[in-house]
Structure formats: structure tokens, C-alpha cells
């Protein structure tokens, strides 16, 4: 009884869902009343909305598939003309009570602590980014196991190489995403990537992945692994900044005029045409996205230099991406 045996799989196999059901019916158990049932449903729905802000509004079938709105004279879907925002991206992001949550300095500070060997800082960074990292790797490798494995590798590399991060490497999130992307591409690129998981939420156990990560670090460095603690990081929420466009602001860096965020577009929605005030980088996580004449699939990377502009950014399927750009982008 002192050691966790490895043969526990036999139980999962023999006592499957049916037997669990039969036994649980025979056993005296607590029951849910109507209120509790509804309250729990709300919790479930809130969680799902946190994964994909538009998920629960997703139409079963697209009204008119195939035709991008810009193919016709007048956009049939997309932003209603009068709501089309103008000004800069900053106006849009920080308009009405948009809380400035993640500050880039916090991220840099975390990396500094990690470089000094602080496991809690790594844990905190992991909390903030594991979903995105995992989802990106999954969409490139198309394999759940590989994605888990590579996610571990990426965070282990972050642990080892945190001291090499410099301001020239771009935002911390971008630096991590680059590592995730090259790790995934180095492994392999699957031919058909479109069938895999279509949610931001990796369906894996983030706690046990953390345990594995902590163990690996201990094996490499010695010392003691930190046991899973309750998550201390409160995730920023999605904010719908325009109809069908939601943002989750992860880090803003006013000094360098840079912002890192998750952007979700509802199906059939276009992002307003804009010109770039600084370098724009985009990692597509879920869904498909058209940027002018280029069609991006999950796992694709798009880079646009300062001074260029994107006229047609549009998603037929709805999409979620990581976007690192300048808040001074001008909306045309």
C-alpha cells in the first residue's frame, strides 16, 4: 500500500461505465434537486463559453456556405455598416470598462523568476498558457499523445532557457508560441489537419500534466517537486468588442506598443480592415481564417510587417487565434 501500483488499468477496464452505473444505482447516494441541476448546468455552460465564446451560438449549419461576403457587392454577413468601428484597435480594446488585465511586465517578471529556479513561477506561466500551447501543437501534429508530450517539452525548455529571453524576442507569449510551433513542426506535420479537435480546450488533465512536468524538472535538476496547488491565476474573461468578435486580452505592453490576445470570430464574421502600426503575428488555433487571398488552417502562422494592411479578414467557420499586434493599428 505504500507504492502506487502500475497495474491499475485492469480496474478501469473491468469496471466500465455500465457497472459503475449499476453499482451507483444500488448504492445510497446524494441526489440533485432541480435547483442544483440547473446551477450545475450554468457552471458547465459558463465553462464552455470560456473555451469558445461563440460556441453556444454556433449555428448548426451555416446559412450560406462557400461565399465569402466580399465576393458580393454588399456584405451579406459581417459587421453591420453602422457598427463598423473606426479609429485604432486601442479604442476598441480599451473602450467601455475593458479591464487591463495581464501586463506584459508581469510575464517578463515570471520568466525572470523561472530563470532563478522558481517552480511556482513556472506553474503560474503554465496556468496561463498551457491551453494555447497544447491546442496549437495539437492542431499541427494532429495527435493527442504527441501534443501532450511536446507540451511537456516546451515547458521544460522554457524552464531551462528562461534566462535567454530578451526583449528582442518579442512578447513572452510570442516567444513561447514560437517554441511550441517549432517543436511541433520539427516532429512532423500531419497531412490532413482539419479533422482534429475543434475547441480551445485541450481535453487532458492539466493537473497530471503538471505533475509530470514537475517530476521531469526534478529528475533533471534535483530538488523537490511542487505538488499540484490550487490555481492562483484567474483567467481574464472574453469581452465582445464588436458583434461577433470577442477578445481575451492576455498581456499588454504599452512601452513597446504591443498587445497579446486571443481573438475569436463567430462564423461568418469579418474582422474590420486595418493597417498595421507595428509587426503583427497570428497563430491560428481553431477554425479557418481568410486574410486577403490566403486561407489559414489551424496551426498556421501569419506575419505582417508594419505599414502593410489587411483588407479582408474573414472566417466562414468561426475561428480562434492568438494575435500579437500593436494596439495602434488603424481600423480603416
Amino acid at each position: 500500500m505504500t507504492k502506487r501500483p502500475t497495474d491499475s488499468h485492469d480496474l478501469r477496464d473491468t469496471l466500465d461505465g455500465w457497472l459503475a452505473d449499476a453499482l451507483s444505482r444500488a448504492l445510497r447516494s446524494e441526489q440533485l434537486d432541480q435547483d442544483a441541476r440547473e446551477a450545475l448546468k450554468e457552471r458547465v455552460l459558463a465553462r464552455i463559453r470560456d473555451l469558445e465564446p461563440f460556441a453556444l451560438r454556433r449555428p448548426v449549419r451555416l446559412a450560406s456556405a462557400g461565399q465569402p461576403w466580399f465576393a458580393s457587392e454588399k456584405p451579406s454577413v459581417g459587421l453591420p455598416a453602422r457598427d463598423t468601428p473606426t479609429g485604432t484597435l486601442r479604442d476598441l480594446l480599451y473602450a467601455n470598462k475593458f479591464k487591463v488585465c495581464g501586463n506584459e511586465n508581469e510575464w517578463v517578471e515570471l520568466l525572470r523568476s523561472i530563470a532563478a529556479g522558481n517552480q511556482l513561477a513556472l506553474r503560474s506561466l503554465y496556468e496561463r498558457t498551457y491551453r494555447i500551447v497544447f491546442t496549437l501543437i495539437l492542431s499541427i501534429t494532429n495527435s493527442f499523445e504527441t501534443a501532450e508530450e511536446l507540451t511537456l517539452t516546451v515547458f521544460q525548455d522554457v524552464w531551462r532557457r528562461a534566462s535567454t529571453y530578451g526583449i528582442a524576442s518579442g512578447s513572452v507569449l510570442g516567444w513561447i508560441m514560437d517554441q511550441a510551433r517549432s517543436a511541433a513542426i520539427n516532429r512532423f506535420r500531419a497531412g490532413d489537419r482539419r479533422h482534429e479537435v475543434a475547441t480551445l480546450h485541450p481535453v487532458f488533465d492539466s493537473e497530471s500534466l503538471w505533475e509530470r512536468l514537475a517530476k521531469r524538472i526534478v529528475v533533471a535538476d534535483g530538488g523537490e517537486a511542487l505538488l499540484p496547488t490550487r490555481r492562483d491565476h484567474s483567467e481574464p474573461g472574453w469581452e465582445e468588442i464588436a458583434p461577433g468578435i470577442a477578445c481575451k486580452l492576455l498581456a499588454s505592453d504599452e512601452e513597446n506598443d504591443r498587445v497579446s490576445m486571443l481573438v475569436a470570430l463567430a462564423p461568418g464574421i469579418g474582422y474590420p480592415p486595418h493597417s498595421h502600426a507595428g509587426l503583427e503575428e497570428l497563430h491560428l488555433l481553431i477554425g479557418e481564417l481568410w486574410i486577403d487571398d490566403r486561407k489559414l488552417c489551424p496551426g498556421d502562422y501569419h506575419r505582417a510587417a508594419a505599414g502593410t494592411s489587411d483588407r479582408r479578414v474573414w472566417s466562414e467557420t468561426g475561428c480562434t487565434c492568438v494575435l500579437m499586434t500593436s494596439p495602434s493599428d488603424v481600423l480603416l
Binding site: 501500483p5 485492469d10 459503475a20 441526489q31 475547441t199 497530471s208
Partner: protein, 220 residues
């Protein structure tokens, strides 16, 4: 424990022939796993249909919760497990829709394996933070039998269980309610591992055949 003559009791259940009704005493439980209703729902959920997801939840939540509670034995853990289960169901519905098998069983399997993760982590934590003796005091392993107090009286599964030899009940309880592996049960009860396995195998076979559960083609 009421049934004084286990032999006769189990015989009388078996001679009723065919399958016993799985219906519990609680009226809100769906009568049978209604695959015809759930299967179309799950494919709509896979397409991101919120209404179908609502309907799926309403039809299945009680049984999912019961399984979660029975394994975790704690209200708030069970609620977390339930949320995780449906979150996973939402994320993995498109995976499932391509596969086969019974929707209810799939959900319950998701729930069960999540519940086991939670219980294992709880044990792992308590192992580190408190002494072994401490945990014994919690009744973690020590008094692991299914006593009549644990049962809904008059339930068919319950009659079946109480008709089993006490040792077999104990093995089943350790495996199901306490998530011990074969080896751990053997150590706990000072039995050879082969005996544990055969007890478990027989108990499961009886439950399966008498309750009319699907055989080994169990859902993953």
C-alpha cells in the same frame, strides 16, 4: 442484512428469467439508456448545437451525478467531476459521433475515469500531507465493505450484491468504491492475487448477466 439465505435469494432473482429491470426507485431516472434519443443528440452536440447539449444534459445528469458521487463520496468533488464530464463531452462529442457504442455508457465512462483521477489525486495529496495512520482513520480503506446501510433497499442490484459471499462483496467494494488495484486488494485482505481476480471476475460476470449489461464489448 436481511437475506438470510443467500443461495435461495440469488436463485429466485435468476429464475425470473431474462433481464431484470434496471429501473431504480427514483422516478426521475430515465427508464433505460435510450440510445435512440441520445444518439441523434450527440451528433448535434458535435456540430455545436446548444439546444441538443441542454437536452443531453437534462436526460443524463442524474445518472452521471450518481456515479460521480458514489466514487468521490463528496458533494463538491462530485459536482466538479460532473462539470468536467460535460465539458469533456462537449469537447469530445465529435470524436464520439464517429465511433459507436452507447451514449450513456460513454458519458458514464468519462465520468468514472474523471472521478478516479480526482480520488487518486486526493489520496496522493493526503499521503503526503498526513500520515498513513491518519488516513486509515478516515475510513479510507479499513472498513471497506458494502454494508446494508450503503444500499437503497429493495433495489435489484442490491439484492444481487447482498446475495454474494461477504468476501466477494468486500473485493468489489475495494475495487469499485475505493479504487484499489488487484494487487492492493490482495495486500489489504491478505489473499493471493489470483483469488482476488477470480472473485472480481465472478462478481462482475454475475452482475453483467443478471442485469443484462452489455458483455465485454464494453464502451471505451
Amino acid at each position: 442484512m436481511q437475506p438470510q439465505n443467500p443461495e435461495r435469494d440469488s436463485a429466485s432473482i435468476l429464475t425470473r428469467g431474462g433481464r431484470l429491470s434496471l429501473r431504480g426507485r427514483n422516478a426521475h431516472w430515465p427508464k433505460e439508456p435510450d440510445q435512440e434519443v441520445l444518439a441523434p443528440l450527440i451528433s448535434r452536440v458535435a456540430a455545436g448545437d446548444a439546444i441538443a447539449f441542454n437536452a443531453l444534459y437534462d436526460r443524463t445528469v442524474d445518472r452521471v451525478f450518481a456515479v460521480a458521487w458514489c466514487i468521490a463520496r463528496d458533494r463538491s468533488d462530485a459536482e466538479d467531476i460532473l462539470c468536467d464530464t460535460y465539458e469533456r463531452a462537449w469537447c469530445r462529442a465529435h470524436d464520439y459521433a464517429r465511433g459507436r457504442g452507447d451514449v450513456m455508457a460513454w458519458l458514464l465512462t468519462l465520468c468514472r475515469s474523471r472521478a478516479i483521477d480526482v480520488v487518486r489525486r486526493r489520496r496522493l495529496r493526503s499521503r503526503v500531507h498526513s500520515s498513513f495512520a491518519h488516513r486509515e482513520g478516515d475510513g479510507a480503506v479499513g472498513e471497506a465493505t458494502l454494508s446494508s446501510h450503503d444500499f437503497e433497499s429493495g433495489h435489484s442490484t442490491c439484492q444481487l450484491l447482498s446475495a454474494m459471499p461477504r468476501l466477494r462483496q468486500q473485493v468489489l467494494a475495494l475495487a469499485f468504491c475505493h479504487d484499489l488495484s488487484h494487487q492492493e486488494i490482495a495486500t489489504e485482505l491478505s489473499l493471493p492475487i489470483g483469488t482476488v481476480k477470480s472473485h472480481l471476475r465472478r462478481a462482475i460476470a454475475v452482475l453483467r448477466s443478471t442485469l443484462g449489461l452489455p458483455g465485454n464489448g464494453a464502451p471505451r
